[in-house]
Every structure is written in structure tokens, then in C-alpha cells.
Amino acid sequence: MEMLIEEQLNFDGPIVEVKDLKVHFVLGTGIVHRILGGEPRTVKAVDGVSVSIKQGEILGLVGESGCGKTTTGMALVGLYASSSGEILFDGNNLKSLKGKSAKAFRKKAQIIFQNPYESLNPRFNVFNTVAEMLAIYRVGRANDRNLTVARALVQAGLRPPESYFNKLPHELSGGERQRVAIARAIILSPKFIVADEPVSMLDVSVRAGILNLIRSLSEKSNVSILYISHDLASVRYICNRIAIMYLGKIVELGDTDTIINDRLHPYSNALVSSIPVADPDVQRERVAGTVEVPTPVDLPPGCRYAPRCPHVMDECRRDEPGLREVALGHWVRCYLYE
């Protein structure tokens, strides 16, 4: 097993490869329903996602609440179990990782959460929080750990690092807490980080700093990042490629420039055109389409966006379109482009 990991470390392919990932949550069913042979109702949070993330790239995963982006992120770091499909990390299937190889995976794949007020243990001081992985994997001895923790804090922009060691979360601002969370994630030099809406709960004047930090982390240390957000503007700022999710499926995938300027899917259009612009001279063109986002339970057949789509056709309501590559690296799931 150890040998296999060594080999795969020289693996040149994408750091993460997702093949038809499905994560379904079963809702409780009544006994009568079960006896009558009914299928349990499931929330199909992620319903067939395939994407690969290259080494050193920042992939944006965009969508509104309920689209499955957080669930996808959690599945990619092994916190949620997948119901079907494959997740390959550095060439190894996540499901087959046990013992030593599972530990190796944890060291290499980390996550940053959205809520900086909840993602740090309120009873741990900054040192213990950041040194957690060092403690778990027994890395280094007491003195070495001070240095390693200090280095991680500096990388996360907290200077001087020693002044933060004994601080407790409630003594820190939101931005500082998020930086501590970042230091915690990067301490063992991971190759892949899932950043789940890392700035949405921070003050506006603080967001820029965290976004710049995430970008530089990727550039300097060649870390791949899955940046999950509903804010396309920040996604545009740091991501190389963008994937747009709707109700558990990716509906468009491509380079940042392509998605922002040459987007194809009607939903991508609706998203981009809904974003307010801080310029009184710009007249925004709004796209038609109302109706609130449904939840991924009891979905009707056909394309999931059909109920809201201004260009809906008959075939849209019959079968779901597949994700097709319409130009190099640009994929769309829509009958308009088949």
C-alpha cells in the first residue's frame, strides 16, 4: 500500500477526478409507505457530477443554495460518503483508502469552512487549533512544532505569529479566525483544498485580503483549490475555471473568461445577469425567468432547469440533456447546443 502511494505521488494527472458522483440523502419514510414497497424519498443533493481538477488550478463551483456545491466539496474531502460514482484523489479511489493510505489522503486534502465563528473549537487556543494535524500524526517534537505553527500562521498572514499562539477564537475578528482556519488547513502542505464560501460571512473590507491569500497560496505552493461560492464576482477574481451547478448537476463548465463572457447555458445567463453592478452608468440587462429554486426531492423528468427556462422546448421536458463539450474545454448541458 505504501509503495502504491509513492508511485501515485509521481502521478501526473489531475489531482482530483470525479466520475459521475452521486450523494443522496434518504429522508425518513413511514412504515406504511415502506411496507407498500415504496422507495424511500431521497434528497438527491449531488446527482451525477463529473469533473477533474488539475494540479495547481483553482476551480470555482458556483450555484445557489440547494444546488449541491457544499455537498460535493464535503464528499471530495471524504467527509460525506458518496452514494455512487468515483472520486479519485491522486489516482487513488477514495473508497479503497484504508489505514495508512487514508491518513496520507487526509494530510493532502483539506477544507476551509464558511463560518469562521463556528469552524474553530472555542476551547482551543490558536496554537492547538493549528497544530492539530501535527498532534494527530505525531509530527515533530515540541520545539519543532512551534516553528511549524508559526510558519503556517505567517503564510496565512497573521503576524507576529507568536502573539496569536495563546489567543482564543472569541478574541479574534472574523477575518483573523478565517486566517487561523487557513493556517490549520495548510500546515502539512496539502495538495488540494476545498474552500467552501470562505468569505461570505466576512466584512467586505476584509474579503479582499482572504481572496488574495487564497490566490497566492495556489500560485506559490501549487495547491489545487475547489472554490465554492454563490458570488460569481469573487469566483471570477481568483478562479481559472468555473463549473456552474444546478440542482445536483453541473450545467456548464469552462474557463473563467469563457463562462463570464461567452456563457451558453440559460441558467448561467440568469446568474450573471442577476448580479448588481456598482456603477450607476451601467444598465444591466435582466434575463426573464422567475420561480424560486425547487429542492432536489421529487424532481420531474427532463431537464432540471425547464420550469424556469425562457428557452424551454418540448424535448427539454422529456429527457435530461447530457454534458457536451461544445468547444475545447467548454461543456454545456442544454439541448440548445446539441
Binding site: 445557489e64 473590507s205 476584509v206 474579503r207 481572496l211 460569481l232 453592478v277
Partner: protein, 334 residues
């Protein structure tokens, strides 16, 4: 005559043994039919100002000085009975996260009736009639008045709250972060509808938010708040195209844009002041890249920099220099 005129308002909160100087010498004017945006980050005092106008300040808040003139009445002088009549009939507030303030065990209908009955003796039938009208206005099916809050999505709840605030035809609506927590598409639709309704009904709106783009699209005038003070006021065009105050200049760098060329995002070092000790001098001195001793010593004047455009700064004459330097990341490094 302005519909609402706040003059030199200062409010403190008593928390345990400390005093938080949440609002310091805030003055603003809202004309009839105008949309005024109050923008600032968490802790800048904007919600406190809103609560003061709506007369829903918590018991530990104390108005130290100032006046709030609404249609020539000083709201601070009113007794309980007068306030009760005022609320909802003249001034309505849509508080932050109000979609979470609906009682889950009662249908929307009864909550509306109950709310309205607190302020006026309208007949139940009439209230429901008005509520149905308002529901239709915001794009909700009047039949859904019988539903319970959990049957509504976040966006629908927010619309219901907006409808509720309009039932008694108030002249002033205060909306505190009306779309926080909502998805961007829903946010857009609600704001569009909200603005349209308010303009059609000639209502005056005080819109409080941290999102400058919402203000840019929906407001006529803007007041920027920082550290309990108003640091700049002017039209939307003034503040966005020709900002004078270094904080407003800095804010421009903080918002990534979806259109146009990529710009460099620059974050302002440090964080907003804690309002426990009254600040001598300028509230922004701790973070301002152009700070001088004068700034730290003396409170800046509310200088007039254009027609109805004011900035709380000692150095409004150096604004072109500030704007140029403000674009460079090095300026903002500590």
C-alpha cells in the same frame, strides 16, 4: 421640507459595565419619494440608526443627544401611545433577517392581522383584504395567506414581510439588509419588485446594506457610515464616481466586479474600531493610509465638497492625490 431629518444623533449602549458608543453625531436627510442608502460594515451603527428612527431601540440603548424629525415631529419626544400610532401607519421597518421572524406555529394571515391590530383598529376582514392586495403586489398568490411560514421559501417569506409592511400605507419604509441570506437570482427579483412598488407608491425608503452594488442600482443618495459616524454623503454617482473620503475610496477596491476588466482587489489593513472608548479625532485614523497627527487629534469637519456632497475629512483638498494613490496596492500596506 424633508420627510425625515436626523440631526446630531448620538446613541450609546450599556453592555455589562461598558458603554458602546454606537452612533456619534449622525445627521441625515431623506426627502419625500427619495431612496437613501445607508452603507457600512458590521458594527458601524447603521442598524442602530434604523432602530432609532423606527423607535425599536433595545432597553439598554440611550439616546445621548440629537433629534429625529419626521414630518416636523421630533420622534424622540413622543410618548408610547403616539409611537404606537406612528409605527406601521407612518413608518414601517423591514428588519434584518425578518424572514426568520415569522412565528412558525401561526399562519401568515393571523400574524398579519395581529401585527396590524397592534397599531390600529381595523376590522379583520379589511386587514385581510389589504393583505391580499399587498401580496399580489409583491408577486405572491393571495391564497397563500393561509399557509404557514415553513411552506414559504426564503424569498417568499421576505416578500411576505415586505407586503406586511405596506398594509397600512406608511410614508417611510426602512429596509435593513432586506436581501441578506437570499440567493442572487431571488435577491435580484425581490429588489426589482421592491423598488418598483416603492416608486409607484411614492414611498420614501431608507435602505441599509453593506453591499455597495445594491445601493448603486436602487438608491438615489448614499450615506457611508464608519465607526458610528457618517463619513460621506452624496448622490450615488458622487460616492461611486468621485469619492472623497479615504474609506469610500478604499471600498471601491474591495468589491470584485463581474463586468469589465479584472481589477486588483486591495483590502484595507486592520479592522473597524471597537466603540468602547470614545474616539478622539477621526474614526478612520487607525486604517487610513493618509493619516496625519491632525487626524488623530481633531475630529474632522463635515466638509462640503460638492452640491449636497459632504465628506468627514481634514484633507478634502488632496482628494485627487488620494484617489490616485488609492488605486495602488502599496498604499494600503501597513
Amino acid at each position: 421640507m424633508a420627510l425625515l431629518e436626523v440631526s446630531h444623533l448620538s446613541i450609546n449602549y450599556k453592555v455589562a459595565r461598558d458603554t458602546v458608543h454606537a452612533v456619534n453625531d449622525v445627521s441625515l436627510k431623506l426627502q419625500k419619494g427619495e431612496f437613501l442608502g445607508l452603507i457600512g460594515e458590521s458594527g458601524c451603527g447603521k442598524t442602530t440608526v434604523a432602530m432609532a428612527i423606527a423607535k425599536i431601540l433595545p432597553p439598554n440603548a440611550e439616546v445621548i443627544e440629537g433629534e429625529i424629525l419626521f414630518k416636523d415631529m421630533n420622534l424622540l419626544d413622543l410618548d408610547k401611545e403616539q409611537v404606537r400610532k406612528l409605527r406601521w401607519q407612518e413608518i414601517a421597518i423591514v428588519p434584518q433577517s425578518s424572514m426568520n421572524s415569522l412565528d412558525p406555529v401561526y399562519p401568515i394571515r393571523s400574524q398579519m392581522v395581529e401585527a396590524v391590530r397592534c397599531h390600529t383598529r381595523m376590522e379583520k376582514k379589511k386587514i385581510i383584504e389589504r393583505a391580499s392586495e399587498m401580496f399580489n403586489l409583491v408577486g405572491l398568490d393571495a391564497e397563500r395567506l393561509r399557509d404557514y411560514p415553513h411552506q414559504f421559501s426564503g424569498g417568499m417569506k421576505q416578500r411576505a414581510i415586505i407586503a406586511m409592511s405596506l398594509i397600512l400605507d406608511p410614508s417611510l419604509i426602512i429596509a435593513d439588509e432586506p436581501t441578506t441570506g437570499l440567493d442572487v437570482v431571488v435577491q435580484d427579483q425581490i429588489l426589482l419588485q421592491f423598488t418598483r412598488i416603492m416608486k409607484d407608491m411614492h414611498k420614501s425608503v431608507l435602505l441599509i446594506t453593506h453591499d455597495i452594488s445594491i445601493v448603486a442600482e436602487n438608491c438615489d443618495r448614499v450615506a457611508v457610515m464608519y465607526g458610528g459616524r457618517i463619513v460621506e454623503t452624496g448622490t450615488v454617482r458622487d460616492i461611486l464616481k468621485s469619492p472623497f473620503h479615504p474609506y469610500s475610496i478604499g471600498l471601491q477596491n474591495a468589491f470584485p466586479n463581474i463586468r469589465g476588466s479584472q481589477k486588483v482587489l486591495i483590502s484595507m489593513p486592520g479592522y473597524p474600531p471597537d466603540l468602547l472608548t470614545p474616539i478622539q479625532g477621526c474614526a478612520f485614523a487607525g486604517r487610513c493610509p493618509f493619516v496625519t497627527d491632525l487626524c488623530r487629534r481633531e475630529l474632522p469637519p463635515f466638509a462640503r465638497v460638492g452640491t449636497n456632497h459632504y465628506s468627514l475629512c481634514h484633507y478634502t483638498d488632496r482628494v485627487s492625490e488620494f484617489r490616485d494613490l488609492g488605486k495602488e496596492p502599496e498604499t494600503w500596506v501597513r
